[in-house]
């Protein structure tokens, strides 16, 4: 048991760990015993492992090279299996060398500073990383950047229409998400919007879904029920459960008619 009146002094190692982990709290920790007890408890509970691992992460975060923008090469010598790839992202040509293991998602976020696309599960299960490649919605977490040679990529940053200065207008789906509160924390929203934009296009082409009534009819622009929208958007998971509002927003754009706003939780 730790004595209430124990001196709050930390060892040099402890100080270093704290300086790493919570630099802004260091002085307070040095001045109070409470935090020291908390610290010791953490250390004993985790056998030091948790903190040590966190500090390794903290170190990595702090020493990571800044994401480069533009077309400069990324220290290609340090890449094991570098692959050079040229593609168009939101209308701008990009050329870079990537590690063969780099996903499109990591490339967008870490190399091109396009952090709108989110990493949720990183395994194709949540849809947070949805982007539009060659006009089709796909998951950037299961796409290798190397495989995007010559392709066009559209991310949430490029969804707004005429994205040049004063003339920028939000995409109708973005407007509708705002109007209908189609988000709470917003984490899934970029993926939801990219997915919805491409999905509405699929419906126009007459693509079917598992709940479509008549599979055998010739392809014609589909009129989507809310059930259809739900099924077609099922690859985008929302932890906050903003689904009713998301469906309302998409329905409004799809039908072209105002949909009543939902202010109740379902």
């Amino acid at each position: 048991m730790i004595d209430e009146n124990e001196s709050p002094e930390l060892t040099e190692d402890e100080k270093r760990l704290f300086a790493d982990l919570m630099p802004e709290d260091l002085n307070e920790i040095l001045d109070t015993g409470v935090n020291r007890r908390h610290f010791l408890k953490l250390i004993t509970m985790a056998g030091g492992g948790v903190l040590a691992a966190q500090s390794a992460v903290a170190e990595q975060l702090m020493t990571r090279p800044f994401a480069e923008t533009g077309t400069a090469e990324f220290a290609p010598d340090s890449l094991d299996n570098g692959v050079s790839v040229s593609f168009k992202v939101n209308g701008t040509a990009r050329k870079l060398t990537v590690d063969s293991r780099m996903t499109l998602l990591d490339t967008l976020r870490e190399r091109l500073d396009l952090t709108g696309s989110k990493k949720g599960c990183d395994h194709g299960q949540c849809g947070a990383c949805t982007v539009i490649v060659n006009g089709q919605r796909i998951l950037s977490c299961l796409t290798l950047a190397a495989s995007c040679e010559g392709k066009t990529v559209q991310t949430i940053e490029g969804i707004a229409q005429g994205s040049t200065g004063a003339t920028t207008r939000l995409h109708p789906v973005q407007e509708a998400f705002l109007k209908h509160d189609g988000f709470q924390c917003g984490f899934c929203t970029p993926g939801q919007i990219c997915s919805a934009v491409a999905m509405l296009d699929e419906a126009k082409k007459g693509h079917l879904s598992y709940v479509s009534e008549n599979v055998r009819q010739p392809a014609a622009p589909a009129k989507l029920s809310n059930e259809e929208i739900r099924e077609r958007m099922s690859g985008n998971i929302c932890r906050c459960g903003a689904y009713p509002n998301i469906v309302a927003a998409i329905q409004e754009v799809h039908s072209g008619k105002p949909v009543e706003q939902i202010f109740r939780s379902v």
Binding site: N81, V83, T103, G124, I138, S147, R216, A219
Partner: protein
Amino acid sequence: MRPFTYSRAKDPSSAIKMLAQNPNAKFLAGGTNLLDLMKEDVERPDALIDISELGLSDINLISAGTNQGGISLGGLSKNTATANHPLVRQNYPLLTQAILAGASGQLRNMATNGGNLLQRTRCPYFYEVAMPCNKREPGTGCGAKEGINRMHAIFGWSEQCVAVYPSDMAIALAALDAVVKVRSASGQERSISMADFHRLPGDQPEKDTNLAHGELITAIELPKNRFADKSYYLKVRDRASYAFALISVAAALEMDQANGPGNRIKQVRIAMGGVAHKPWRALKAEQMLVGKEATEANFNLAASAEMADARPLEHNAFKVELGKRSIVLALKMAFNGGKA
């Protein structure tokens, strides 16, 4: 992910050659299964050969040969394109439904027909490299056999492996007697029927299929049939959408017109997913139904006979009754042209 070299193949023959030279190389198609498994350290190829730009994505009527009048689906055609193609919608609605029952819109835009057939089991012990698994590491044992095996097999399993095969598309292909066309490094083409494509685990569960290393799936052929009016793909899962099947049933009926407006079944196909290491053709039920009237009583008899042979594990006995009811419902839906 472990390091690997990435190369883009320009034509099928060079792709096959590149693969054949290296036993640790893998083709990369849509990547939706392979990359997932590489991130989990389950698959560890040292070279990926990207085959997504090879073409091989046409969908055509077959004008000659044994499958004349049927259609050919490119091995690299995307699942979305296949499901929505007019020829598939019109003549093989069962296949359209099965593809659309699987995964999500984004994934189907990426997934290819060949990759879909070769997707690996979703057994959670297979995915978790800290667990024993004969499929992932032969000789280590099977975590699921005595573990949590609610999702696992009730037919065809062995002491070595009780996993189920997860594809929806393949269940419809099995019911439709599809043929898989493959090309090897020697340039030779061969055809493998769906019935022989996937394997039961036996004592080599690490081998999912009868495809040899270096063989490329170039196409999948569907023979002509008369099932389009009466077919249905039923998928039963834990969530309403976007989940793998607990049980699925592809059912197709052709009624005998020769006997007038009578209700007799001329031909019937039933294939099940989520019950075995491969698409499971319910041959016993099929045989019992040929020549019989399409009544719920007969559907029940056939389904019960089929499921009587099931060998459930500790946690999946529910699949026996569920399978029986699913067969009956799928046949009813098929008979009514897709309506309950």
